[in-house]
């Protein structure tokens, strides 16, 4: 049957908004574009003035924007229809990574298939998992029942476990989060949530047991970076030093001694925000935070406008996941969260990350699009 608003829109046949008509949301696109440009400027300094790196990253952004635009045109019901297949495919790829994957530093995260560029299947799962949980929960009435939740939990645990086994703790936690957000938004009762929270805290010692040594060291180092200033604490200390020494206005573009003299590790990837902080100071970081706030705000607005429960849940989950990326990265660099290897969205160098983020925005845009022909669902 039809909801009231759906009927109204069909009747008028004039979507009120550009985005609802053409898919691409101009404001979100603008914010994303400005942020990505800001990222390119920072990258030039952070990479040690490597123009070729900036050009490559620019190409990633363009490809990502293209994919976003295409995805925003896809009909919602098609997305709903393909979700289980994509999820199953992503699970297969994750298993393949564990069997024939390649990697470095003791972690096996990449799949190097002939004829395809190297890629991380976990990136696909970042969107496939929340979509799958959404798909599952929206088959029935909301809020979900306990048995529905149990299945949903299983849908989350399997891919998370596969990714954690690579091992990639940061990604697995974030993916678990994106699945959890769907459950949360779907209206899980607060009481149940409290119980689950309690269980979660209780299971922390178990998590500690299964963590690898270097992961434990990272957690311990967070508690006291000075305990191993040249080893595990190095990254945190140097990043905090870079941020702190930037002060209000920073040391000037491309003049950060921590970054340029290579005291700062991973300065063009995970720790790039420390370069902003050192060279452009608190002001530079504030600009970044404002840009993120604009993106998140716009995503929230689009989530509110999303069509159907599937659309709302998926949009909300993608938005929250984006927020988690920002928060975890900034928290890690400023020394309040352990070093987990999460890139700063839209800024850190790396094609996979930026393309998968823009795919997410493409999904959000697709979800709020009204259709001339009403689909049967919801």
């Amino acid at each position: 049957m039809l909801t009231a608003t759906d009927i109204g829109q069909i009747e008028s046949f004039r979507p009120k908004r550009f985005a609802q008509r053409y898919g691409v949301d101009p404001l979100l696109t603008l914010f994303v574009l400005v942020t990505a440009l800001y990222g390119l400027i920072i990258l030039y300094s952070a990479s040690g003035q490597s123009l070729s790196m900036v050009i490559r990253q620019g190409a990633h952004v363009i490809v990502g924007l293209g994919v976003m635009a295409i995805l925003s045109q896809v009909r919602r019901d098609i997305i709903v229809y393909v979700t289980p297949f994509i999820f199953a495919f992503a699970i297969l790829l994750l298993i393949a990574v564990l069997v024939i994957g390649v990697g470095a530093k003791g972690a096996q995260r990449w799949l190097d298939l002939p004829g395809l560029p190297r890629f991380q299947p976990s990136e696909l799962m970042k969107l496939a998992l929340p979509a799958m949980v959404t798909w599952w929960l929206t088959r029935r009435k909301l809020p979900p029942t306990i048995s529905q939740l149990a299945i949903a939990a299983l849908l989350i645990v399997i891919p998370v476990a596969l990714i954690a086994k690579q091992p990639d703790l940061g990604t697995s936690i974030i993916i678990a989060g994106s699945g959890f957000f769907v459950i949360f938004l779907a209206g899980i009762s607060w009481r149940l949530l409290a119980i689950l929270g309690g269980l979660g805290v209780a299971s922390l010692p178990v998590l500690w047991m299964v963590m690898r040594d270097y992961q434990r060291t990272r957690v311990l180092t967070l508690l006291d970076p000075q305990s191993d200033p040249l080893g595990a604490g190095w990254n945190t200390i140097q990043a905090m030093t870079a941020l702190g020494s930037g002060g209000m206005f920073g040391k000037g573009y491309a003049a950060g001694t921590q970054a340029q003299l290579k005291f700062l590790p991973e300065s063009h990837t995970d720790f790039i925000v420390a370069v902003i902080g050192e060279e452009m100071g608190f002001v530079g970081i504030s600009v970044l935070l404002i840009l993120y706030a604009l993106i998140l705000g716009r995503c929230l607005v689009l989530t509110m406008r999303a069509q159907g429960h599937f659309g709302r849940l998926l949009s909300g989950s993608v938005t929250l996941t984006f927020f988690v990326y920002v928060f975890v990265n900034l928290g890690m660099v400023s020394g309040v969260l352990p070093v987990v290897g999460v890139p700063l969205p839209l800024i850190s160098y790396g094609g996979t990350s930026i393309v998968s983020l823009l795919i997410g925005f493409g999904l959000i845009m697709a979800m709020q699009r009204t259709k001339r022909v009403l689909s049967g669902e919801s």
Binding site: M1, T3, A4, K141, L142, P143, F181, F184, L185, A186, G187, I237, Q238, M240, T241, A242, L243, G244, S245, G246, G247, M248, T257, Q258, L261, K262, F263, G277, E278, G281, F282, I285, L289, A293, L296, L300, T303, M304, H309, R312, L313, G316, T319, L320, F323, F327, L330, G331, S334, G335, V336, S378
Partner: protein, 628 residues
């Protein structure tokens, strides 16, 4: 119904989105607070940390002062030396690194051994260790090309001490060497921040403080890998002061030439200042070999060499003075009234203490006949001095002789000299816990028995003779010159002149013991010969039978000055196992006096470089002969 359910569900989701948005906003605020704390409140702390990261203060070593001879010729200088260095803390596999070096440049077993030794010796953390010294430009280039592959390896042109005259100056200048553990504890560490060497002996040690200079400081910006990016600022080091010596390198070469391949020592002094004009201890060694660390084999060869080239005979060789002290002892006897100028004795070739059968023999079997003090000096009559010694007694003898500097170190800027022994009751009680016997007084009268002196002491004592009763402490540098020496309160100037006349007759008189050396002299030399018995080199007897005889022969000594009336040079020399002082030592002295008084002219003060190089080859031959 379905419609309202859908609306309710939509609102449920939207509510949850709002809750999440508020939660997210709170977290973002926390993050902002954290950033404010880091960037706006604790800024200064992190700025300090960042500067400390970036800037390193490096010491800049000052150039060590030069040592120059009396004519301004450089005796010790700093030569640029391309060194291959390694910081052990930065290298994981040192053996691998060495084999990489070996595959590129010549790296001998000796080099490897030296490097191993350098590596083992204690040093300050992160001080580089020399892998190979004295790289050629080509070798440096071969390594430099691949240097980036080898963190911890570096090539540096570091000034290294160089002694252009090698063996000629080794025993006077000493040498510099790597700071040892003991020295590290004794020095003021900040002054040596940029310096890894220290004066180990000789003038280098005596003037360490002045030669060292003041360390400079350079602040450099470094990358996280410690690579120096640029210099921020720099306080230049102050080079060490140059030390001018009394030493005359031309004369020194002459001393070694006159000694030839004999073992012995010569000290030449300027009687006007007390400055050491020349010092030779033969055989000698090349101090340059010690600079970069000498190999174990080379060092062992120098040490086991039975001619002991490392041993400084001039400062540390303790020889009985023998008859060389007779003029001084005569003045002591006159002063205390044990003898007079007029007193004569009848010498039958020996002396006996009353109530004792033992005969203290004169060197001349049948005696000198009637002998007064002048004749006793000229002919070196032992019997006269035996008798005088008994009359004088050991107490007055040692009291008088200490005015000439015997029995103590010479001090000033002389490093490492030994005090010798001036025998006395006091000394014997302390050193041996025994009382003094009269027989020991007798043989002390001819400079034997317990009495031992260094050639330096003999030179200083003879200088006091040349200065007509004024003792001046010997010293190397002009910086130690003093206005006046210490008067020797023995007799009056007539006594001194008469004794010096007797010393002239040692050479110029018809019966002088050194008359053979004075043939054809057209200037006057005052001198005294000495021939002393060697008290066994027992341990070598059974091994080197053919050498026993040579090694048991008497030491030949000579002291003197010229020209006698206004002396410009004082000499004291010892030729080990040289036989008689008159026939062996005096002619050596004559050559040196001739050089100084007659041959030396203003234009030719530097020794012939060809001679210096053959000298040093001789030194090397010592090393090689024994290491083979």
């Amino acid at each position: 119904m379905e419609l309202s359910t859908g609306v309710r569900e939509k609102h449920l989701i939207q509510n949850r989105v709002m809750v999440a948005a508020i939660g997210g906003a709170c977290l973002l605020i926390l993050l902002v607070i954290r950033l404010i704390w880091l960037q706006l409140i604790e800024t200064e702390r992190f700025q300090t940390a960042s500067e400390a990261n970036r800037l390193q203060t490096l010491p800049v070593s000052p150039a060590r002062g030069l040592i120059v001879d009396r004519n301004g010729l450089i005796l010790a200088e700093n030569r640029p030396n391309l060194q291959l260095l390694l910081v052990p803390e930065e290298v994981d596999d040192i053996d691998l690194m060495v084999s990489e070096v070996r595959s590129r440049i010549e790296f001998t077993d000796g080099d490897a051994e030296r490097f191993a030794k350098n590596l083992k010796s204690r040093r300050r953390p992160r001080d580089p260790v020399v892998v190979k010294d004295d790289l050629s430009e080509t070798e440096a280039a071969l390594i430099a090309v691949d240097l980036f592959q080898f963190p911890g390896l570096q090539i540096e042109a570091r000034p290294t001490r160089f002694y252009p005259y090698g063996g000629l100056t080794a025993h006077s200048l000493g040498y510099v060497g790597r700071l040892s553990l003991n020295e590290l504890q004794a020095i003021e560490e900040s002054r040596y921040a940029g310096t890894e060497t220290i004066g180990k002996s000789g003038v280098e040690k005596a003037y360490e403080d002045a030669l060292l200079g003041q360390v400079g400081v350079e602040r450099v910006e470094t990358s996280a890998r410690g690579q120096i990016m640029r210099s921020v600022d720099r306080d230049d080091p102050v080079p060490g002061a140059d030390i001018p010596l009394h030493l005359d390198i031309g004369l020194t070469a002459k001393l070694y030439e006159a000694l030839g391949d004999r073992r012995g020592a010569i000290v030449a002094m300027d009687p006007k200042t007390g400055g050491v004009l020349g010092l030779a201890s033969a055989p000698t060694y090349d101090a340059n070999a010690f600079i970069g660390g000498i190999s174990q084999a080379e060092y062992a060869a120098l040490q086991v060499n039975q001619d002991t080239p490392l041993f400084n005979r001039a400062l540390r060789g303790q020889y009985p003075p023998g008859s060389t002290i007779k003029p001084m002892l005569g003045l002591v006897g006159l002063h205390y009234g044990a003898v007079t100028w007029e007193k004569e004795i009848s010498d039958r070739g020996f002396f006996q203490l009353s109530g004792d059968d033992h005969k203290y023999r004169d060197w001349k079997k049948w005696g000198h006949g009637r002998v007064n003090i002048e004749k006793a000096v000229i002919e070196s009559c032992d019997t006269y001095f035996y008798e005088m010694a008994v009359r004088l007694g050991i107490d007055q003898m040692s009291e008088g002789m200490q005015w000439f500097g015997f029995g103590r170190r010479q001090g000033r800027d002389i490093q490492g000299d030994l005090p010798g022994i001036l025998p006395s009751r006091e000394w014997k009680r302390q050193a041996r816990n025994q009382s003094w016997y009269l027989g020991e007084t007798v043989i002390s009268g001819i400079g034997q028995g317990f009495w031992v002196t260094t050639p330096l002491q003999l030179a200083a004592a003879t200088t006091a003779m040349a200065r007509r009763g004024n003792f001046i402490e010997p010293h190397f540098s002009v910086l130690e010159d003093v206005d006046a020496g210490a008067p020797v309160p023995l007799g009056d100037s007539m006594d001194w002149e008469r004794m010096i006349d007797a010393m002239e007759d040692v050479l110029h008189g018809e019966r002088g013991t050194a008359r053979g050396a004075a043939r054809g002299l057209n200037y006057r030399i005052a001198g005294k010969t000495g021939t002393v018995q060697v008290v066994g080199i027992a341990q070598e007897e059974e091994y080197k039978a053919e050498e026993i005889e040579e090694r048991l022969r008497d030491h030949a000594l000579f002291v003197g000055f010229a020209p006698a009336d206004s002396p410009s040079i004082v000499l004291a020399l010892v030729i080990e196992n040289g036989g008689s002082g008159g026939t062996t030592a005096a002619p050596v002295a004559r050559q040196i006096f001739d050089y100084w008084v007659l041959e030396r002219n203003e234009g030719e003060r530097a020794p012939d470089t060809a001679y210096v190089s053959t000298m040093n080859q001789q030194v090397l031959r010592y090393v090689n002969a024994d290491s083979n």
